[in-house]
Symmetry: C2
Subunit: 194 residues, 2 copies
Amino acid sequence: MHQGLIEYINNKIATKLNDSEIAQIKAVFKPKTLRKHQFFLEEGEVSKYGGFVIKGALKQYTIDESGKENIIGLYVENWWVGDRESQMNNTPTPYYIDAFENTELLVVSKEDFVSLLSQMPFVSELGRVLSEKRNFQLLRRLHATQVMTAEQRLNDLEKTYPEFLQRFPQHIIASYLGMTKETLSRIRANSLKK
Amino acid sequence: MHQGLIEYINNKIATKLNDSEIAQIKAVFKPKTLRKHQFFLEEGEVSKYGGFVIKGALKQYTIDESGKENIIGLYVENWWVGDRESQMNNTPTPYYIDAFENTELLVVSKEDFVSLLSQMPFVSELGRVLSEKRNFQLLRRLHATQVMTAEQRLNDLEKTYPEFLQRFPQHIIASYLGMTKETLSRIRANSLKK
DNA sequence: CGATTCTTTGAAAACAGTCAATCTGTGTGG
DNA sequence: CCACACAGATTGACTGTTTTCAAAGAATCG
């Protein structure tokens, strides 16, 4: 169960995890299973756990007054999922996160994460690098949303995360890209005409 | 000159910087002055420095085929500025960053930053926390851009960064919010009617 | 005061959203 | 095995917000 996470970390750090470190990681990352449609987090809650996706897929979104889902994150294997802002600051989250497929996660509490930080110095550095990588993603997406047309954003997604297009239905992709499912459908119809 | 940065760091960490640490920071953070309209970074360059704003203001943007500036970041006193992705990965930046006012920065090279990381363990942790904070900002902005109307985004900015509205002219704010200056002008005209 | 720079206003056009109906495929229960 | 429900995708007509283009009015600065 933890093998995926161990490999993930080994790929990100200079050395390999030793047995003691592996044991510590296994101790704090607890398995959690979500069936399709089950919530990992609901609006108004304070997020208790961060999660690493072993298998499955999740979506993160808000729901507006009219009941429409606005998807701002999609997560698959080897992605981190959660609302760190809520978790770190003990503030209620504005987001829903639910399993889009049957999903296996490894989750870690704030307290356990803090203890990891103090016991394994490289965790800070790994966390910093991962957080910066996430920054790059978010800045790119922000820029794309601000300057690209709907069609350009779809092309961009095809290059950046092609796996999303196979894995999620169009109405989910549309929302993630900040457009309606009708618009996405029309864009695809137009592209085919070429 | 370095006082602002020292205080900034002291406010973010558990203990205070000691004399040796202060000396190291002074050694690697070099003063840099930009006159209004001077570039800190231009499209196509590989970013050599990250910067901390001591005094002044900068804008980060791309220029599209038609020559229009699309502003994606605004930076004032006590903000970090730069393209870390370009700096860390040695890739050409897609962004321009220039001084919007006469500006004083403290800049640090990648090499010097790495040496700080190794000599002062808390730098990793501070970097992680700051990067996560930046993540929260970016996620909020992304969500705002995707789900809010132009008017709501302006209201949101008034709450989040009210200082921007006083400091930058409307056409800059408009671009930062992902709308045209005409739209922003009309929104304001409408708000006044109430 | 002349020259930028910034802001406002109007009219037309474009892009995407909404609403509604239909079509498709998939799977489940009777 | 069929019928039906359900989730997803498509299409059309209409609406609406924002953009674009153009011009002119205000403010600021050397």
